[in-house]
Symmetry: C2
Subunit: 333 residues, 2 copies
């Protein structure tokens, strides 16, 4: 295992300390339980938008904490759900009196722990809602998941709902908007290599020198099929076609296209794949109105990529464009 770490058991806390040092103007970081908050949290009168999940997908979620996006992120151990008490601590620290919305990727442990925390907070009088993100069209059920997995689409939900909360939308509206975005977003990924969890010390799965796994999960969960490595055109078509067929997206649709690196796939390849996806969408009469290209929903040092397509309307486009100031996404402020 080749990693730049000290103690494998302390890697999340050590990394969060570095993140705190890197962004003193932006973030408050706690390590017991692990918690990343806006520097100015709680923001009085604003719905707290909170996400979280296992670590190892950075910048998801802590890199999206800040004005215009998340109020707080709750990082679990690597590829491990955060505990209910960590989620409760985030709720207690971030709620500014207007309630809280939990954005939860659809993994059994995450759903259970976030919903338990929401119930406990409700007993204390806090108003908390949870919306499950399940955008991955690859497989219906998977390791640790009943139903579809939550992957790259989560970034788009966080940005759009965070913008609405920033403008003063109430909890019911934020929840409704989150469900609307979840209903309009679809994703699929591919792995060329496996990630290595620090405390495991070896790759999560074996993949031959000329193989790729189509439909991979962001924890290395099995996908749809293992195939010989193809060209970028072939790979992008294998991701894009199931995504488009699922909603379905149709000629005349306007979309946001998010081309994501799983970690080790370089930006040179990612832009290349993005160009292929734009061409294929144009050929189908689908207009790409907004783009996001980069390593934003990663799986440690896995090589691979994912494509996420969101069907836009004017309101979603405007909320996407709204100012945001986080470690990983920043524009307009």
């Amino acid at each position: 295992m080749k990693k730049i770490i000290n103690d494998p058991a302390a890697v999340v806390a050590d990394s969060l300390r570095g993140m705190a040092a890197a962004h003193p103007d932006l973030l408050q970081v706690r390590t017991d339980p692990a918690l990343v908050l806006r520097a100015d949290a709680p923001v009085t009168g604003q719905v707290a938008v909170i996400s979280g999940g296992g670590s190892g997908h950075e910048p998801l979620h802590a890199g999206f904490v800040g004005p215009g996006m998340l109020s707080a992120a709750v990082p679990g151990a690597v590829f491990t759900s955060p505990t209910p008490d960590a989620v409760q601590a985030a709720l207690s620290a971030a709620d500014g009196g207007a309630g809280a919305l939990l954005l939860v990727k659809n993994y059994t442990g995450d759903v259970l722990n976030f919903e338990t925390a929401a119930e406990l907070a409700g007993l204390d009088g806090g108003e908390v809602r949870a919306v499950i993100v399940d955008d991955d069209v690859a497989v219906q059920d998977s390791t640790h998941t009943a139903g579809r997995r939550g992957v790259g689409g989560t970034v788009l939900v966080e940005k759009i709902v965070g913008a609405a909360a920033d403008r003063g939308a109430d909890l019911a509206r934020c929840e409704q908007l989150a469900r609307e975005v979840v209903g309009r977003v679809r994703s699929m990924g591919v792995a060329l290599t496996a990630p290595t969890v620090p405390h495991a010390g070896r790759p999560s799965f074996d993949l031959g020198e000329d193989e790729m796994e189509i439909g991979i999960g962001i924890h290395g969960e099995p996908g749809r099929e293992r195939l010989p490595l193809e060209s970028a055109d072939g790979i992008v078509a294998r991701l894009l076609e199931p995504v488009l067929a699922d909603l379905p997206f149709r000629s005349g649709d306007e979309v946001l296209l998010y081309t994501n690196s799983m970690g080790a796939t370089p930006l040179m390849e990612l832009y290349l794949a993005h160009g292929v996806a734009e061409r294929m969408l144009a050929e189908r009469g689908i207009t790409v109105r907004r783009r996001l290209v980069g390593p934003y929903t990663t799986s440690l040092e896995m090589q691979g990529m994912s494509l996420t397509v969101l069907k836009l309307d004017d309101e979603l486009t405007e909320l996407w464009d709204a100012p945001v100031r986080t470690a990983a996404l920043r524009w307009g402020r």
Copy 2:
């Protein structure tokens, strides 16, 4: 070789087409010769700040083209200097009548080709200056380099000089400022794995399962020594000590600390290493005033990192903070 590409010989042009598709509001992209320009180039009356070099280090340099940073970038083939005629094309397209400053990483081919282009442009009446960046303290001479190599410090030179040009500094002032930043910035890197150049098809060097190369270049050029892999504390100390000793940086100094991933090292590890470096600087009485953490000066899918330290003063800090709008760095606009 596991890459998401079509034709290995067309990878740079294919990637640039994807970049153009991803950033239509920000960039003009040409592929023969390869050239990335600000969407609004040439900007009349403003010094054109131009950089470039072999591809494979993305987002360096094309990801830094935009208001407040570079006017144009000239990408060569992977790990190969751009030709003089490509640099000339950039000069001709970006010069808004106030002259042009070429920021050149110190590699023999880059220096020769950029200086040849500058001379030819001078014969045509354009006013062109070139400043060489040679911030890598690892080795004195290296593969393809007489003197020290130019690495991560280039990003800081580009940002600071680009901000000055954006404010209307003239060519002489931009050149002087670039030399000043070069005089104050030092870097060193480490590799845990080797990069693979697409048209070569195999890793650039062999590194054992438990080995790292201290002082690596961004094209995989040999460093100072090959050692057994150490903890993050050990690795960061091996990079930071030669950097600090070189200028030297002293107790009481205020610095910008740039913690860079070589590509495949995940953000989780990078923040961890950044935290270690901040602690070690604090122990020496050096104050970190500004930070940059991320994969900004990469070497394809190489695992590893580099540290860059810039000695700040009030003017450099203000120019660093000035608004910038590029694909890879954006704040304040």
